[in-house]
């Protein structure tokens, strides 16, 4: 299989979906001429023209509103918000309209649209350009929330998101765009709402999202050397959550750790932890551990930003400690 970058996988998803369905269009700041900040739409303006690739003014609220309106008219907009930090400006359109219109119309209006953005640290951009805000959207009834972690996943999930008839908040990670991974030539889709077991193991279940998946996998590699076997699960869709896959795993291992870059308090890690406790209480040898970013704005620069969020070492350390505690006590 060809190895391509995460950004190129996005570009392929766009290209295939836009060619398949002329109602699919991308709208956002500098998605055209520039081909998006991280080059995920390079060349598409030339290929599909300005009807399908729309550069906009700096008007996040109007852009998001424009997407909602166009979707209500049967188009399939992909609204790009350049940084998730700016989605703060478009929350009314997403929460009060996109998430509500299907119900408010008694099911008559469908909104087949994607709000696509990227979040997280990793590019040393300080606290106004590095946030993890995914749990806001999990919290809003009427939205689907997706966070892909690999080139294969982003392509398959984005294509499904574009085809879904509900508003999908699709959150990429800025540190992933230039990561490479295998992606088949043939077309494929990954259904929304399906987790993937990224690595099987018997001792501890690690649930990790987005950028943290690769960290968790590497930590699992290291722990293997110490004889600890980790199962790593990437939910991929944060809501609706594939509880079955998670529950099956924790029932097997009896230990669970949730790893997110976002800080724990009020975050999705609490949702994941609660679901596991609710369904696997009798199987758990120790309470679910949340191993998450610190409760802080991300400070500037390469050193401090990395120290605020989980690392391969910290994940390995925490998972190892969880197992030792369980063995000591269990």
């Amino acid at each position: 299989m060809a190895k391509i970058t995460f950004g190129e996988a996005i570009r392929q998803a766009y290209e295939e979906e836009m060619a398949r369905d002329r109602d699919v269009f991308l709208i956002g700041e500098d998605v055209g001429r520039w081909g998006s900040l991280y080059r995920s739409s390079t060349g598409l303006l030339e290929k599909f023209g300005p009807d399908q690739i729309k550069d906009t003014p700096i008007s996040e609220a109007a852009i998001a509103g424009c997407g909602v309106g166009a979707a209500a008219m049967g188009m399939r907009p992909i609204v790009e918000i350049m940084y998730i930090d700016f989605i703060t400006i478009a929350m009314d359109q997403i929460v009060n309209h996109a998430a509500k219109w299907r119900q408010l119309s008694n099911g008559k209006v469908k909104l087949p649209m994607v709000f696509k953005t990227q979040g997280g640290a990793g590019r040393r951009n300080s606290s106004q350009h590095s946030q993890c805000l995914e749990n806001w959207f999990v919290y809003v009834p009427g939205l689907i929330t997706v966070m892909p972690s690999s080139p294969y996943d982003v392509k398959g999930l984005l294509k499904s998101a574009v085809r879904d008839d509900n508003p999908v908040v699709f959150i990429e990670h800025k540190a992933l765009y230039f990561e490479k991974g295998e992606v088949p030539e043939e077309e494929y889709l990954i259904p929304l709402g399906q987790a993937e077991v990224k690595r099987t193991g018997d001792d501890v279940t690690i649930i990790a999202t987005s950028w943290m998946v690769s960290f968790a996998l590497e930590a699992a590699e290291r722990l293997q050397e110490e004889g600890i076997s980790c199962e790593v699960i990437d939910p991929r869709t944060l809501w609706p959550l594939d509880r079955k896959t998670i529950i099956r795993s924790v029932k097997k291992t009896g230990l669970c750790m949730v790893v997110t870059e976002a800080s724990a308090e009020g975050g999705w890690s609490g949702e994941a932890s609660s679901v596991v406790h609710e369904h696997c209480f009798a199987d758990l040898r120790r309470p679910v551990k949340r191993h998450c970013g610190m409760r802080t704005g991300i400070p500037y620069g390469p050193i401090l930003e990395r120290r605020c969020i989980p690392s391969v070492e910290s994940i390995a350390g925490a998972a190892g400690a969880l197992l030792r505690e369980a063995r000591g006590k269990g």
């Binding site: 424009c66 309209h97 408010l104 259904p191």
Partner: protein, 330 residues
């Protein structure tokens, strides 16, 4: 005279309809905030009534007369406000937010949002080369909202077919327009979007309709958006029973009553030789129609919870659990 008489009938219907709604609100049969329309009928009939069935109208938190003028049946609007199944949104939306896609009518209770949404409807029309236009109606208060600026700019640079109608009824709740809008006339903002300044006295329904037709025509010819300030006056409080004394003099309201559109149309008709008896019989017809309407409406059923929340349950084929009320079950 024939046309004016028709306008008169339409305005009178709205006047009485609004009265009926107010009475139902007082009886707590309309449940939520309800915003009366008395005195503004020139806008609904002049502007909303000028649209074709296939044109889209985006209205506000004060939508009921706009909706009727756009072509929604009295039945569907009234029972929506009463939360009954026969309402255009199945009774799930209520008096401030409902969607009637079959009549190309959409409204919502967040002030200003519709200016962004309108650009999306219009974009779809333009890209699909449909011979349809979008009208977006909003208040003087909404003209201070960021979406006013973003929506107008976006529509202007893309030459979208939107008629933006600022229904200036002199107040945003208790805020008099002249204290909160920094320019003398709201239409003076048009220049910032490369548009003409148009202000009409919308209490003259004929003038309102003329302006509407001209604007709609312009849009249909692909000349881009139009902004019109339609001046009128809100005779009732912002809502039934608001503390009116805190923000205006009763005298001001009495003066306004002399200039309101129904009265003006009636006077003009009489001057033009129409018999008072003829006008009285219109009045009587309307009263009878509304009485029957009310009787019918009160018999309609409420929606079930199952139906209501069904539209939020994201129907994902592969999602293991699509709806998740954690412990509240039906």
């Amino acid at each position: 005279m024939r046309q004016l008489q028709q306008f008169y009938r339409e305005m009178l219907l709205l006047r009485y309809f609004d009265q009926l709604c107010r009475a139902l609100k007082m009886k707590d049969i309309i449940y939520s905030g309800y915003h009366p329309y008395e005195g503004q009928e020139g806008v609904a009939v002049g502007f909303c009534g000028a649209l074709k069935p296939e044109d889209v109208l985006l209205s506000t938190h004060r939508p009921h007369c706009h909706a009727v003028a756009k072509g929604c049946s009295l039945e569907s609007v009234l029972t929506e406000m009463m939360g009954r199944r026969t309402g255009c949104s199945g009774g799930l939306g209520g008096a401030m937010q409902f969607l009637a896609p079959e009549n190309q009518f959409y409204c919502g209770s967040v002030v200003g949002s519709n200016l962004g949404l309108a650009t999306g409807f219009a974009l779809a029309m333009k890209q699909k080369k449909l011979d349809r236009i979008c009208m977006c109606i909003f208040g003087d208060g909404a003209s201070n909202h960021g979406t006013f600026h973003e929506g107008l700019n976006l529509a202007a640079i893309w030459k979208l077919p939107v008629v933006f109608v600022c229904e200036n009824n002199q107040f945003a709740e208790a805020m008099p327009v002249q204290e909160f809008v920094a320019c003398e006339r709201i239409s003076m903002r048009a220049r910032g979007y490369g548009l003409e300044e148009i202000t009409v006295d919308a209490n003259d329904v004929e003038e309102a309709r003329r302006a509407a037709n001209e604007a709609i025509e312009r849009c249909r010819r692909g000349k881009g958006p139009v902004l019109i300030e339609a001046v009128t006056y809100r005779i009732q409080g912002h809502y039934v029973g608001d503390p009116e004394g805190t923000y205006r003099d009763r005298k001001e309201v009495e003066t306004a009553r002399n200039k309101e559109p129904v009265k003006r149309a009636r006077e003009k008709l009489l001057q033009g030789g129409v018999e008072a008896a003829e006008l009285d019989s219109i009045e009587q017809e309307i009263e009878e129609e509304l009485e029957a309407l009310q009787e019918w409406a009160l018999k309609q059923e409420f929606p079930t919870l199952e139906a209501a929340i069904d539209h939020v349950g994201i129907p994902l084929e592969n999602a293991p659990e699509v709806r998740g009320p954690q412990s509240l079950t039906l």
